[in-house]
């Protein structure tokens, strides 16, 4: 092994091919099932299907930003600005519709276009000026938190706007009172994002480019892949996802809080890593991210069912899981090297 840094990934490893690459995600899924069964065994009513459905209601915005984050991390970058962009989008929705009186659909399109444009800009800064992603997206973290506070430093309600009722309109599956469950439209939006992301990552040129750039930017460049377009593209995807997550949050709460989603970027990064994506880029799955978000949601659900535990336990457990998964990735990478050499 030439170096002990993950930044320069070992040149030979089976973590990225063969069956070994499914070990982290299998562990996540196993953990998820264990958490669920543990909940069913310990708490009455935990086997209600609505418990699982609720994971996708409460965590729909987190799921969307985590999907965007998956693109960025797969390409070897990081996006710290998603929490702030998300809060800004919610606030912008509220301001555009309540204060400026713009029709809600137009406002949504504006917000989404703005999020994407911001991603393009920051991606261009990262690529063309060779600024570290960490620093470049830090600008977004501060800038959008500041702009959100400047629009309003108190809650803005969007209850008056008819349009925002749409998100929580729900579809019933079976009899809700008896073994059925319901999902609101905003969960379906999150599912659609996941499916589109899955197809884009695995079956399009752009998606393969993301993996290639994350694996080795130099090699991707030498292979003639459009590195510039790919690197800028992933930040645009992340910006779009953050704006969309902000809109989903607007649907879910019908109000905009200037201090909402502080630290959401950390939750998203943690979910992505627990979902089996390497933070150094080049390897991972968008469906793993879904599992990671579900683990986060399941932990919170268990804490809610327990009743006497504080929500910060979720953060502690998340940290421990992160540790376990990072060490697992190290062990797999090292054993892969041993077998080959």
């Amino acid at each position: 092994m030439s170096t002990h840094q993950l930044t320069e990934r070992p040149s030979r490893s089976t973590l990225f091919d063969g069956l070994t690459r499914y070990i982290p995600i299998s562990a996540t899924v196993a953990l998820l099932i264990a958490l669920y069964l543990g909940g069913v065994a310990n708490y009455p009513n935990f086997d209600n299907p609505q418990v699982v459905a609720k994971l996708f209601i409460d965590n729909a915005p987190l799921l969307v930003i985590a999907v965007g984050m998956t693109f960025v991390i797969l390409s070897g970058g990081i996006d710290l600005s998603v929490g702030s962009v998300m809060a800004f989008s919610t606030m912008a929705c509220a301001w555009l519709t309540v204060e400026a009186g713009i029709a809600a659909p137009v406002a949504l399109v504006l917000v989404l276009a703005f999020g994407t444009a911001w991603g393009l800009l920051i991606g261009a800064v990262i690529h063309y000026f060779d600024v570290q992603p960490f620093i470049a997206t830090l600008v977004g973290l501060f800038l959008f938190r500041g702009l959100t506070l400047q629009i309003s430093d108190t809650d803005v309600s969007m209850r008056e706007i008819e349009f925002f009722q749409w998100g929580m309109t729900h579809v019933d599956f079976g009899n809700v009172r008896d073994g059925g469950f319901w999902l609101p439209y905003l969960s379906f939006v999150a599912f659609a994002v996941v499916i589109i992301a899955f197809v884009v990552l695995h079956y399009t040129r752009f998606g393969r480019g993301v993996y290639a750039v994350g694996g080795s930017e130099q090699s991707a460049l030498l292979m003639g892949l459009p590195v510039a377009r790919t690197k800028i593209g992933v930040y645009a995807v992340s910006g779009f996802c953050a704006a969309l997550a902000g809109i989903l949050a607007a649907f879910a709460t019908k109000s905009a809080n200037p201090l909402a989603n502080v630290g959401a970027e950390l939750d998203a990064i943690a979910a992505v890593v627990i979902g089996g994506t390497l933070l150094t880029g080049g390897a991972g799955f968008v469906l793993g991210t879904v599992a990671g978000v579900m683990v986060w949601g399941m932990l919170n659900t268990l804490i809610a069912f327990q009743g006497n535990l504080s929500s910060w336990w979720a953060r502690i457990v998340m940290g421990i899981l992160l540790l376990a998964f990072i060490l697992l990735q190290r062990v797999l990478a090292r054993s892969g090297e041993k077998r080959r050499t």
Binding site: D130, I316, L322, R330
Partner: protein, 351 residues
């Protein structure tokens, strides 16, 4: 010394500009320290006093960044250090006992040092990327601090000597400024008067080559993270002593980002290698002054984040060679003729 002066030029110019703006807005009193009740006061001294925790953390961060690492956990460690000391003091029957305060401070520092060593071991021995290794504690650390305080905000009595750490003064100079200045001098002496500084830059430049050259790079990496965490714990103690309480959720929130920002403003590249402790100190002063400037020129405090974002953006772009090349292109006369201008400019700087 020439490269050092050149690196420091921009931060010093920015700091002077900020101070001039403040003097223009509030008068010369801004910079002149006043003496109240035998201790220094005044706007600028207060900025320095409030910036002391950030300076401590930024100094540790400079060392970590010099080894090509980064420590995201300092904000959480700040909260843990504050929580341990405050909780231990409020649980004691007599909060004014001097021994108790020393015990609490020592315990907090030992625990934060252990946390730092853990980060260092993860990076050096397990080979985990620094950003990932410290992310774990960044996520879990505030939860641990909550665990220590039991979800409450422990409030230390004003009579306890512990609060002196943040509010007291020695020879008229506030104690936080003393502590931060002593730490700056200690680290500067340790790294510039011994071989340690060169070893650090060597490890940051190329860990593998350093190891082959006979440098125990793993031990140095662990030491650096330990010092950084210790600085963060000390900063947490000062912050908590100043407030008289430890808020596990909001104490030191985003201080890691401010610290990284200060290091970058000070001219230390995130890529490791050369580091500039004095530059970091100036960077911290710029960040501290920036907050006051916004209020003094009549903008609302909500502008703080926006202003900080603009500073990060400008600094990041100025440090990018690609950006400088792009922005300076119109000023270069002919692309094919080798420009003779840079040479005289060098001489002017040298003078």
């Amino acid at each position: 010394m020439n490269t050092y002066a050149k690196r420091l030029m921009w931060p010093v110019i920015i700091l002077v500009a900020l101070i001039v703006v403040n003097i223009a807005a509030t008068g010369i009193d801004f910079i002149i320290p006043t003496v109240n009740d035998g201790r220094l006061g005044g706007a600028f001294v207060n900025i320095l006093r409030r910036s002391a925790p950030l300076l401590l953390i930024a100094l540790g961060m400079t060392l970590v960044i010099a080894t090509k690492g980064i420590d995201l956990s300092v904000g959480a460690v700040y909260a843990i250090g504050a929580a341990i000391a405050c909780q231990m003091i409020i649980e004691a029957p007599d909060q004014t006992a001097l021994g108790l305060v020393f015990g609490a401070v020592a315990l907090a520092l030992v625990v934060t040092a252990v946390i730092g060593a853990w980060n260092g071991v993860m990076v050096a021995y397990f080979g985990v990327q620094p950003i990932v290794a410290t992310l774990i504690l960044m996520i879990a650390g505030r939860g641990i601090a909550q665990l220590i305080t039991g979800g409450q905000i422990p409030k230390v009595q004003d009579a306890s000597p512990f609060t002196e750490l943040g509010r007291g003064s020695f020879l008229a100079v506030p104690l936080p400024i003393w502590i931060a200045a002593l730490m700056l001098i200690a680290i500067a002496l340790l790294t510039r008067k011994t071989a340690l500084g060169m070893l650090l830059e060597s490890v940051g430049g190329n860990p593998e080559a350093s190891r082959l050259a006979g440098i125990r790079s793993k031990g140095i990496t662990v030491l650096v993270y330990l010092v950084c965490s210790l600085c963060a714990g000390l900063a947490g103690l000062i912050g908590a002593a100043n407030l008289g309480s430890a808020d596990a959720n909001n104490g030191g929130l985003w201080i890691e980002l401010d610290a990284i920002l200060a290091v970058v403003i000070g001219g230390t590249a995130l890529l490791g290698g050369r580091f500039f402790l004095l530059g970091t100190a100036i960077g911290v002063m710029i960040i501290g002054t920036l907050d006051d400037t916004i209020i003094n020129v009549g903008l609302s405090s909500q502008w703080q984040f926006t202003a900080k974002a603009i500073v990060v953006f400008v600094v990041a772009l100025l440090q990018s060679p690609e950006f400088r090349g792009w922005i300076l292109k119109p000023f270069k006369r002919q692309p094919d003729a080798p420009a003779p201008e840079p040479a005289p400019a060098e001489e002017v700087l040298a003078k």
